[in-house]
Assembly symmetry: C2
Homo-oligomer: 765 residues x 2
């Protein structure tokens, strides 16, 4: 009886303390509409993202919806590629596509209209996804394809029908955002009957991306054919043929392959593929280190455990639908940045050379214009060690960069220069000021200064000379001035804390440059020319690439002074005028025509665009003008209307976790309006209860009493038992553990937190 | 007085023991006609070969004469590239061409007929070359360009005229054996005002060659422009322009650059360029490690000392003309293989991955169809340690090769599969059997067996099945059978000594397969089809790619049984018939028409073709038939008529040192007819005296008494004071030190060495 009791107790304790949280995750959320998420199998921060590609249009032919290679409503799977971005608004990747087939060999993916090529029809009822797992029935071949993964290795399980003509196709020409000429070079080698290696080098969003793979089969290949479907260039003495049968080496720009075997009824063929930025040796080492055998269920279960471990950091109470949105958001927020170094620490740097990440894990995919806003601040709470390593990765990038510039939008050893600003400095200053250790702060500040004074970047030369980015020299001058000024404030704050007053003085001055683009006449921040004249004609509703603003219009961008909201309110003429204009933002409609050039503007409520990042802090600004109930109203409206637990549940691009991090913070009731400031501004909670289990062992709890669909107004709040007299909490209040209790109601408490002396004024530091 | 005396003595001793031997070297020998040598500055076995390119035709437009990028009679210098092959018959290289100019910037090399482009006129009277140094007056710009080098770093000295518009052009599109599309990708980065790095990746003779550079200027660049002269592909968000002024990063397939400064009258600008197969970091490390400062004369003098040190291994007495031919031959024989690993031991393997050469120096450029014959045997005597490291490099190649095949014709991490056979096994067996240590003999034998049994290589599958390479399955079947059989004999000999009788039995059997291609009817080795029929029509004078033979005809190839000359003589019907047919070889003329498809056949005496390798051992075969005086006659004729101390002094391609090694051996009076056999067959000396200073401290001396232009017949010979009763000496007789004295005369001694029992019969082992 004794042993039975012990067993029972263990079972009980497991049930109580580790309920399965992964079941709330639905990887299909955001895979329809504009989310640009992928449903493939991956582990937290996993280097590899194997998953289905359903449509791969040429990058300049309406490819935007297929940034992740997938749209939920597509009825085909072209194949399974190993790399995907999570929710980007531009794209690349889709490397090393494989596809199991039976029957006649086809080496072209074919056309959806004609059902030709190696693609397969699928049915939504026979497609499954959960954290670390994806499965689909390939109806055209009667093959069930399943995928799981470790950090660097994809693990495929293909259940074939009986066939004397079973194949695995590998198409090195397939790519997301492809175009004729994108594949600079590729190679494939058959090392033995089980093992294939290769690489490809692409010129896409990344200028010169080299990625390597190693692939192993669970059963021997009986025959194989390696094809280079191009003929024009000099082939030399060796490999002469376009079609090489059972010859182990092929190279070129249009390389495809098929590996053939016979299968019995329902015979399972497993395939493992690992990737590396270093070489095929790195890929092979990753594969062999991470998955020694062929136990698919074990790897799948391990992947699930990794997710469970991350999810256990946040225990929530909420209706199931809310749980699905919340936990899937958290899932999404851990899909970028991703691990970039091999198991042995090596990686290919932005200088093209092989480096060893000594003492840290190197990360890549830095979508910093997005993720500095909420994702990295979330990491400072829930992933401080990884955030430090991400910073180490940024510093290594800066050191290797010929521009000596911190990452802007970088991935796989390349800087794309996509978007604006130098928001790495925000991530670093935020982490430093929050006391995160594990990176060299002096080196970091030097890198930040070097970055912020690099004249060749985005009009910085003129910005430093004139105090603003002149539109006649550099497009999107208004957005650039505003974002540079915020970044400069971040540098000033870090320098201040480090006692570097010279740098503080220099950058606190630059932090005020936002004033130079304020047009008191139109009451918008606008672009100005070198001679001081405003860029004309001006239409605050019009958005276009190369206009005054970056992916936005005057209405959307004229709230971007997070470092000194008080000063901004004063520019607007005081609280009342500011609140009135903010109100208009959420009401003012316009013809789609005004935005048609900028596909990223989405998730609209009036001119407020939750679907793109410039709006993300805006609804929180009411707090600063003494009207927190209006923040509560708007945040509730946004969370309620623009997030759902469906494939179309994302109102705009996920943007590598930023959209999700916005939701995670907002649903907990607070948001980092100004990273670097240590303050989280209170909005309105969407969850009944949250428990954050912090790495330091402490627990921070948020409880929203009386919360309901109608009761989204905060009546009062208590922090650790004492009435909270201000509309924000601080980073240390979270990290020290404690309890924040909101009392919710159906009517606004317009007297709550109206004392403007309680609002943070970061610029006064 | 005392100190003066000491000084005098030192001077005297230097004069006696280290006279300047480099003065006998004329790097222009072989740079005209068909030698395909380059006159650039390099050190022994140097990884880098900086030098002038005078004409760079498209590879399929009569490029053959410019395999080394240079022809002596050209009147232009296009620029100076950093890599050149020494005397090959196919080509590639010509990386990272630079050209100093003044005045208007030109980024195209221009056309010789119109004097346009950045090329410059030169005059032969203002061009200088010596070991480790090259200089030329660039008349179009009034710039004197001088070059010296260390192992991995080129050092340029440019004396500019006064100019406000002085430039250094760098053209990453320039290449030897270029063609549209050869440059797969290239990059250039300006790290600071002094330092440039970059790389290029080419598809030429090598399938996927990646080579990196680092360049440093002695004075700061005032401005620079990086151009990518191509537009069709997607440039992304970052570098958009084709022409980037003072922007530090450009990439693409047509990248060129100019670096600008002002110069005073005769102002010297130094430029250092190092290369690496690993990365720009490797190149920079090579540069900084090898040349710390800007002392051009010191580096030049060091380079000369390195040559002097090598030359001192062979002291000769001969007329000055002979000294020039001999020492320049020795100079040429040390220009390939070359060092391939960086100063830190890293290199890019044939698997494309970065490896570390642990415990050895990695070498590259293995032109093995050529160099196994005499160059590697020469290394076994004079460069045993390097020969061991070359073997280690071959073994690393085999391990990294997807075919698990030893190098055939490999360079810069690529196998070209050029020419036939698997003559790495000859190099390895020869070294092993001669007692050279420093490589893993077991691993080596395994690699040799794996190579020789790889079915997919050059008809080996059928060779193993049928005992010959059938022409209907694999072209050039006669040559292949003959060379494989020799290689197999090499494997058998090594296996025999290692006590591996199973392998010995297998390969000694294969060593006899030459018999299967003997046509007793025509008395030629001929190609046979699978069904045993001869390939028809047959014309022993006709040579064509894809015919019965490889770069040769029936007359040239029908002597290739070095492993069992006795058996071959018997096939011919005995000594007399054999000698008669050999005599015919040197007489039989034919129309050029018969050879027109094979540009490598050169240096003809009848059908004997000294200019290509299949003939190299042939004149020595008289010895085996008891007619050594005929060998003496023919060898004298060849040395006398086909080698000269002029630019046109090479009668055919140098072939990475093989032609020179043939001359070095032959002029000393003996030659390795059958590498692996330990025997050197006596021909006739061309030098009065040779002293080989061996690494083991011993000295081997050859003295030719009474030698003159007429006295080239050996009357008698003594080895270490005793009459030499046979027409060969052994490897150990050389390596133990000793003295070989020939008594020369004007008439043949037809009774000398006619005892056939004294002739080696290798196959009996």
């Amino acid at each position: 009886m004794k042993s039975f009791c012990l067993f029972f107790l263990i079972l009980l304790s497991q049930n109580v303390f580790s309920q399965d949280l992964t079941k709330h995750i639905n990887p299909f959320i955001g895979t329809g509409g504009e989310g640009h998420n992928y449903p493939g199998a991956t582990v937290p921060f996993g280097m590899i993202q194997p998953g289905p590609d359903t449509h791969l249009p040429d990058f300049n032919k309406n490819a935007f919806p297929w940034c992740a290679g997938y749209q939920y409503n597509d009825s085909f799977v072209i194949g399974f590629s190993q790399t995907h971005f999570s929710g980007t608004g531009h794209s690349d990747m889709g490397d090393f596509l494989i596809m199991p087939t039976v029957g006649e060999v086809k080496l072209n993916s074919g056309d959806a209209d004609y059902l030709d090529g190696y693609r397969s029809q699928i049915s939504k009822s026979e497609e499954w996804a959960e954290p670390g797992y994806y499965g689909v029935m390939l109806k055209s071949y009667n093959i069930k394809a399943e995928i799981t993964a470790t950090e660097r290795t994809a693990f495929y399980k293909f259940s074939y029908p009986q066939s004397d003509n079973a194949h695995l196709i590998m198409d090195l020409t397939s790519s997301i955002y492809n175009y004729e000429g994108k594949i600079i070079w590729s190679e494939i080698r058959v090392l033995d009957d089980f093992t294939i290696t290769g690489y490809r080098q692409t010129k896409g969003w990344a200028a010169d991306r080299k990625i390597y793979f190693a692939m192993k089969f669970s059963k021997p290949i009986e025959s194989y054919t390696l094809v280079d479907d191009e003929d024009f260039y000099y082939k030399g003495f060796g490999v002469k043929g376009k079609v090489l049968e059972n010859y182990p080496f092929q190279y070129g720009r249009k390389v495809k392959a098929h590996f053939d075997f016979k299968t019995g009824v329902g015979e399972i063929v497993y395939v493992k593929i690992a990737i590396s930025s270093v070489g095929t040796d790195g890929a092979l080492k990753n594969l062999e280190t991470e998955i020694a055998d062929w136990n698919f269920n074990k790897v799948k279960s391990d992947a699930k455990s990794l997710w469970q471990k991350e999810l256990e950091k946040i225990n929530i109470e909420a209706p199931e639908k809310e749980k699905q949105i919340f936990y899937t958001s958290y899932y999404h927020s851990l899909l970028a940045p991703i691990i970039y170094s091999d198991v042995d620490g090596r990686y290919r740097g932005v200088d093209g050379n092989i480096h060893n990440a000594e003492g840290f894990t190197n990360y890549t995919i830095f979508s910093l214009w997005d993720t500095y806003r909420a994702e990295h601040p979330m990491f400072t709470i829930l992933q401080p060690n990884r955030d430090a390593d991400m910073i180490n990765s940024m510093l290594a990038h800066q050191e290797q960069s010929v521009h000596k510039f911190l990452p802007v939008w970088s991935f796989h050893g390349n800087e794309t220069w996509c978007m604006i600003g130098y928001h790495s400095v925000s991530v670093i200053a935020d982490a430093y000021l929050k006391g995160i250790k594990g990176f060299d702060e002096k080196k970091a500040l030097d890198a930040m200064i070097t970055t912020a004074t690099y004249e060749k970047y985005g009009g910085l030369k003129y910005y430093m000379l004139l105090g603003y980015v002149p539109q006649d020299k550099e497009k999107e001058g208004a957005s650039k001035t505003l974002e540079y000024a915020y970044d400069d404030w971040c540098i000033s704050q870090m320098a201040f804390k480090m006692g570097n007053t010279k740098t503080y003085d220099e950058f606190i001055k630059r932090a005020g440059y936002f004033r130079n683009n304020w047009d008191a006449g139109t009451r918008f921040f606008r672009a100005k020319n070198t001679d001081g004249s405003w860029n004309e004609p001006f239409d605050p509703l019009f958005a276009a690439y190369g206009g005054d603003y970056t992916e936005g219009n005057g209405w959307q961008y004229s709230w971007y002074v997070p470092q000194d909201v008080r000063a901004m309110i004063n520019l607007y003429g005081g609280n009342e005028k500011f609140v009135a204009k903010l109100d208009s933002l959420f009401i003012l409609k316009t013809e789609d025509e005004k935005y048609k050039q900028v596909e990223d503007i989405a998730g609209l409520i009036g001119q407020y665009a939750q679907g793109n990042e410039p709006s993300h802090h805006v609804a929180y600004l009411y707090n600063y003008a003494g009207a927190p109930w209006k923040t509560q109203e708007k945040i509730h409206m946004v969370m309620n209307n623009l997030f759902d637990n469906t494939p179309e549940g994302m109102c705009g691009n996920e943007d590598c976790g930023q959209m999700s991090a916005w939701y995670i913070f907002s649903s907990m009731g607070f948001y980092p309006v100004c990273p670097g400031s240590l303050e989280y501004i209170i909005g309105t909670p969407k969850l009944n209860k949250v428990e954050l289990k912090l790495d330091n062992g402490k627990i921070f709890r948020m409880i929203a009493n009386n919360l309901s669909q109608e009761n989204y107004y905060i009546q009062s709040a208590k922090l650790n038992g004492k009435t909270l007299e201000r509309s924000y909490i601080t980073h240390s209040e979270i990290m020290n553990g404690g309890e924040l209790i909101f009392e919710m109601g159906a009517s606004p408490n317009k007297n709550l937190w109206t004392d403007l002396n309680q609002i943070p004024y970061s610029m006064t530091k």
